[in-house]
Structure formats: structure tokens, C-alpha cells
């Protein structure tokens, strides 16, 4: 169970995430929606501590994740995989190595680090990587450089890398915002598969309400850093969207799409305000 208690993040005078309280049971697929600058990315990045919270606590299975440092923090990041909007693969490495990177924190000791530095992965690890790639029809690309793949393929490689971490939670920060509709579907299907078959809790930021309704068990809507809706897809009717955001659903999605990829959360917030 992942629990967020009063999670807050300020950038200077701007409060990007404001007192968010959520309890997410294991195995749930949660969609976080909201317009650009609503604080979705910051919220997700705080959960695996790529961004430090200003206030509040993150608990997983009763353990306070907010207090972790050093090796314990890295262990938490391994448990809590991250999928990025721009995939964040190492472009010049081949697909197989990119996936094997997911094992790095599973290779303990000096020998583990040394063999990792020399890219000496075991046959078992390589077999695991190929099997995961196989699940998403990517095994044929294993020896190609990552930058030769399409965006949809790269995002699936990123999911494979995350799976090799053997995580309990998977965070996906706008995983399909850089993809065309067909690839977006393939990637969302992959995330659902990860959730259903591997039992991994998935927390994903989305700006398409339809995608969120179609794939998620639960939808959390954010506005100006606050959670303004938390319920099932069926409860998030067009009327509810209008009540929350003061615009129709189409207008909501237009405004979400117009916003550029966010270089700095504070700046994007100001642009919206």
C-alpha cells in the first residue's frame, strides 16, 4: 500500500503540489489527470524522490520513504520504477544493455559493481531481459542501438527496463504524450499488462480523459497542485469535469495538449495562471 500524507512541494513562491493525501492499495492502476502545470509530474517525481518534497510523507508498506537516504533510497527507487515522457533510454547503448540496466541495483558488492562497469551480465540476466523483450515483441531489436527504434518501441524498452528492476510500483510520467495514437495504445496496453499480469501498482499521469477512463481503475484529478477528484472512471462524468475545471471535456484536453513539454514546473505554473 502506497500512502501519501500531506505531500507538498514549493518552487519559490509557487506551490506545485499542495497537501496531497492519497492511499493507493497494491495492484491498482491509477490515472492522474490535470492540465499542464497542475502538479502531476511533480507529484510522481516526489514519490520516487527525484524531486524532494517540501512537506509531508510518503509511506510504502508502513515504511517512511521520505526519510530514506543513500543505499536505502536507491533500493526504494528500484522498487518504484519510473517511466518518462521522453523514454530516457541511453541512446548509444543497444536495447539489451538498456534493459539490463534495470538489474544494476540487484548486483551487490564490489564484484557486482565491477562486472556492471564492464557490462558483464550473467546468462541468466540476459535471458531474463530477452524474455521481457519477447513479451512486448521487441526481442528482434535486442542488439540494435536504442536510437534506431521508434518512439513507441523505445517506450516499451523503457517498460522492459523497469520490469527488470522487479518493482512493486511503476510510475509513468506522461508515458504517451510524445507518441502518435497507435503507439500510445500499444504503450498503454503494455502498462495495463504490467499491472494485470505482474500485479504491479501503476500510477500514471495522463492528459487524455478517455485514455484514463479506458485503462485505469481509479482516476485522481488535480488542479493547481490539489486533488480535486478521486474516484472511479464511471464517476468522472462530463458534468463532473465541467464542475471541476469549469470547461467542457474537449476544452480541457485542448488546453492540456497546447501546453509545451515542461522545462521547469514553476515556469509552467505561471504560464497557466
Amino acid at each position: 500500500m502506497l500512502e501519501l500524507q500531506g505531500l507538498t512541494r514549493r518552487f519559490g513562491a509557487v506551490t506545485a503540489v499542495d497537501d496531497v493525501r492519497l492511499v493507493i492499495p497494491d495492484g491498482q492502476m491509477v490515472g492522474v489527470i490535470g492540465r499542464s502545470g497542475a502538479g502531476k509530474s511533480t507529484l510522481l517525481r516526489m514519490i520516487n524522490r527525484l524531486t524532494e518534497p517540501s512537506e509531508g510523507h510518503i509511506l510504502y508498506g508502513g515504511q517512511d520513504v521520505t526519510a530514506l537516504r543513500g543505499a536505502a533510497l536507491r533500493r526504494w527507487r528500484t522498487d518504484c520504477a519510473m517511466i518518462f515522457q521522453q523514454f530516457n533510454l541511453v541512446q548509444r547503448l543497444d536495447v539489451l544493455t538498456n534493459v539490463l540496466v534495470g538489474r544494476l541495483n540487484h548486483r551487490p558488492g564490489v564484484m557486482g559493481t565491477l562486472t556492471s562497469l564492464l557490462k558483464m551480465f550473467t546468462a541468466e540476466e540476459r535471458a531474463m531481459a530477452i524474455r521481457v523483450l519477447d513479451r512486448f515483441d521487441l526481442a528482434d531489436t535486442a542488439l540494435q542501438r536504442a536510437d534506431t527504434l521508434s518512439g513507441g518501441q523505445q517506450q516499451r524498452v523503457a517498460i522492459c527496463r523497469a520490469l527488470l528492476q522487479e518493482p512493486k510500483v511503476m510510475l509513468a510520467d506522461e508515458p504517451i504524450a510524445s507518441l502518435d495514437p497507435r503507439n500510445a495504445k500499444v504503450v498503454m496496453d503494455a502498462l495495463r499488462q504490467v499491472n494485470r499480469e505482474d500485479g504491479i501498482t501503476v500510477l500514471t499521469n495522463l492528459h487524455h480523459l478517455d485514455t484514463a477512463r479506458q485503462y485505469c481503475d481509479r482516476i485522481v484529478a488535480m488542479q493547481a497542485g490539489r486533488v480535486v477528484f478521486d474516484g472511479t472512471p464511471a464517476e468522472l462524468t462530463s458534468q463532473r469535469v465541467r464542475d471541476i475545471y469549469g470547461v467542457s471535456e474537449d476544452e480541457f484536453e485542448d488546453s492540456a495538449e497546447e501546453a509545451p513539454a515542461r522545462p521547469h514546473p514553476a515556469r509552467t505554473r505561471l504560464a497557466v495562471a
Binding site: L96, E124, R126, A127, E166
Partner: protein, 287 residues
């Protein structure tokens, strides 16, 4: 969530399906081993040829130690003004030489860029001429110019300029080749000619790179200009060489410290200039 561990049989099956994913082929491995042992063998052979031995290096270090002891404390000696004049001359030589090279290299760089001169033959031969000139070191040019125009800084300036024209032209040509085609296409599309396309489509993209490289060269030439004096091409080098001959190491140390300070100042100023000219993106347009 834990992934199922593959069994030995499954690993074997995957290995036979994608052998390359489990490591390089035997042939590649052997080739790699041969390449490694050959390079290690070569390095050992070279060390043996040059008579490297720990004792020689150790003795050399103690010799170096003696020199350093002689350097302390650094002293300007009695020829203060001579030293300052020498350093000023070195800086001036480096400045003039680099300036000439940087200016001449702009048209040459354009000629050497494959996206400006589209004729492969012309572009290829121009590049080879650059390569030829680059094969000759500054010091050789300096020796030649000393014979040609006589002792003094003029020979040094010409040596710096000649040697750098070739290098800068090549660097400029490469910078121009990495420029974006679309921006130049925009100029083509308004009906601009070749010259105007180069002026508006290419130069604005590459000139900050050109300037940055020229400034680096100025800094590095200030250092190398100190050596040109040894062969009589002006600058502080002659004074260093003379002092080493008569073992006035304290004065050599003084000159070296002064040189380091000079280069540091030049580096500081050029870093400022680079930051101002290259970093100017918000608002103010350049050229």
C-alpha cells in the same frame, strides 16, 4: 514484483536463438584477444626501445627536484623591463597571428565545407591542402620564416598565422557542415543567391563557434609563442632559453609565473567574451 528466473534449459534455448545477445562470437573474442595482446606488446616494445626503466625515471625526478629547489625563490633578476617587454611581445604575436588566421580561415572554411562547395573534387582537394599545411608544425614554420624575413616577431606572427590558418579552416569547415540545412533553405526559398544564403543562412549559425575557437587559439598561441623565441622568432622564449643555459632557474621560474598569470587573464577575458556573444539568446538579436 519478482520475475520468474529462467531455467538452464530456457537459457540454453534463448542462447541458441540469439547467440550474440549472450556475448561476442568466438571469432570476435579471438580477434579481441589478439588486438589486446598486440597493443600491450607494442607498448612494452616502445618502452624498451626508448630505454624506459624505473631507475631512470627516478633519477630524472631527483634531477627535476634539484631544478625546483634552484627556482625558489623566483626572482626577476636585473632585467625587469626586458622580461615584461618579452611577454608583451609574445602576447602581441599570438594576437596578431591568431587574428590573421581567424580572418583568412573564414573564406577558406567556407570553401572547405561540403555543404557550401558541393563539387566533391573541389571540396576534397581543398581539404587535402589544409591537411598538408596542418602536417607542418608551427615551429618548423618559424624556422622557415626566420630564414625568410629575418629574426624577430614578424617571423613569429607569420608562423602562428600560417600554422593556424590550416587548423582553423578545417575546424570552421566542420562547424559549417554541422549547420542546419533548413535555415539555409529558408533563405533559398526567398530567392536569395548563394552568397546571401551563406551570409544569412549559414554564418549566423556558425560564427559563435568560429569566434570561440579563435579565442581558444589566441590563448593557446600565447603559450606556444613563448617557445618560438627559442628559434629566434621573437617573444619571451629567447630570454627563457638564455636563462636556462646559464642556470638562472630563479629567473626562469619568475618568467613562468608571469606567463601563467598572463594566460589566466587572457582565459578569463575570453571566457567572458564567449559567454556574452554565444549566450545571447533572450531578446537581443545578433547581426
Amino acid at each position: 514484483m519478482a520475475l520468474a528466473r529462467p531455467t538452464e534449459a530456457e537459457i540454453a534455448a534463448l542462447r541458441s536463438r540469439m547467440p550474440r545477445a549472450f556475448g561476442a562470437s568466438t571469432g570476435t573474442r579471438i580477434l579481441g584477444a589478439v588486438a589486446w595482446s598486440a597493443s600491450i606488446g607494442w607498448i612494452i616494445a616502445l618502452l624498451w626501445w626508448f630505454g624506459f626503466s624505473p631507475t631512470r625515471i627516478w633519477n630524472g625526478l631527483s634531477g627535476l627536484g634539484t631544478i625546483i629547489v634552484l627556482m625558489i625563490p623566483p626572482s626577476p633578476g636585473e632585467l625587469w623591463m626586458e622580461i615584461l617587454k618579452g611577454i608583451a611581445e609574445s602576447v602581441a604575436m599570438a594576437f596578431l597571428g591568431t587574428l590573421i588566421a581567424a580572418i583568412v580561415a573564414v573564406p577558406l572554411g567556407l570553401l572547405g565545407a561540403g555543404n557550401v562547395i558541393t563539387s566533391t573534387l573541389a571540396h576534397f582537394s581543398i581539404r587535402r591542402v589544409f591537411d598538408g599545411f596542418r602536417g607542418v608544425d608551427q615551429l618548423i614554420w618559424a624556422l622557415a620564416y626566420v630564414r625568410a624575413v629575418g629574426l624577430g616577431p614578424l617571423a613569429g606572427v607569420l608562423a602562428i598565422a600560417t600554422a593556424d590558418i590550416a587548423v582553423l579552416s578545417k575546424l570552421y569547415a566542420e562547424a559549417i557542415e554541422t549547420a542546419e540545412k533548413r535555415q539555409a533553405e529558408g533563405i533559398d526559398a526567398v530567392g536569395g543567391g548563394r552568397l546571401l544564403r551563406t551570409r544569412f543562412g549559414l554564418l549566423p549559425q556558425v560564427w559563435p563557434v568560429m569566434l570561440a575557437q579563435a579565442l581558444y587559439f589566441f590563448e593557446s598561441n600565447t603559450r606556444s609563442a613563448s617557445i618560438l623565441g627559442v628559434v629566434g622568432a621573437g617573444g619571451i622564449g629567447l630570454q627563457i632559453a638564455e636563462r636556462i643555459k646559464v642556470r638562472h632557474w630563479d629567473e626562469v621560474a619568475f618568467i613562468i609565473i608571469l606567463m601563467i598569470a598572463t594566460v589566466a587573464v587572457i582565459d578569463l577575458i575570453s571566457a567572458r567574451i564567449r559567454a556574452r556573444l554565444i549566450g545571447r539568446r533572450e531578446g537581443a538579436a545578433v547581426q
